[in-house]
Amino acid sequence: MSIRILYFGRLREEMGIPGEMFELTQQARDVRGLRAQLAARGGTSAVAFAQGKAVRVSVNQDLARDDTPVREGDEIAFFPPVSGG
């Protein structure tokens, strides 16, 4: 299934792109599965999504967790912990 991914802050710089369209395999149904597929791509993606890195996620503009489901057409954003105000 096809999803839209956005990157913000330090993560956007690490990835070198503001976002991308991504084809998620059938096995991955949640954020955890998506993270694993992104890390498995290697290169900058493997570094940005390495285990233990503080990467927050939102699904369709709501803060999400690893067990949040991911569906066709979703907008998923990855970003570091926020630092506004």
Binding site: S58, F79, P80, P81, V82, G84, G85
Partner: protein, 156 residues
């Protein structure tokens, strides 16, 4: 209730007047203004860039304001947050809360700032003499936001 994310500076007096709308029920106005400092973690800061997630940031702020209204008896609330290039002395964020009494207005104002700091998608990158660096989230901000976790009822 309104929230705005903007490049432009804001006029605190005009924002407060607009929120009060000459409503005689308003007996208290609490406000907070966040400013750019010229030092952070021991290093001189010459400026900063604030980035946000258009759409989600506004939605997040609106949700925080709605939660404040649920928790306290307040009349209205406003959040204005700037993005883009900012310099020391610049205003970054404004929170204004109106209510009948000061207790709810103070508490709601502080709650909105604490939640904004830990939940609203903004990221700061500051310029130092050694180059630009991303500002990391602070544990003390998480602790400040967690103070409100047990307080679910409408108290003053």
């Amino acid at each position: 209730m309104s929230v705005r994310v903007q490049l432009e500076d804001f006029d605190v007096g005009a924002e407060i007047a607009a929120l009060r709308r000459a409503d005689p029920r308003v007996g208290a106005v609490a406000s907070f203004i966040g400013l750019v400092r010229d030092v952070n973690d021991g290093d001189a800061i010459s400026g900063m860039t604030l980035e946000h997630y258009p759409g989600m940031t506004e939605k997040s702020l609106a949700g925080i304001v709605a939660e404040a209204k649920q928790r306290w008896d307040i009349l209205d609330a406003l959040v204005v947050h700037r993005v883009g290039e900012l310099k020391p002395l610049d205003q970054i964020v404004l929170v204004v809360v109106t209510g009948a009494h000061r207790g709810a207005a103070f508490a709601a104002c502080e709650f909105i700032m604490d939640y904004l700091k830990t939940r609203a998608p903004f990221w700061k990158k500051e310029q130092t003499a050694q180059g630009a660096r991303w500002v990391d989230a602070r544990v003390s901000d998480d602790q400040a936001a967690e103070r409100w976790d047990g307080q679910l009822s409408k108290s003053p």
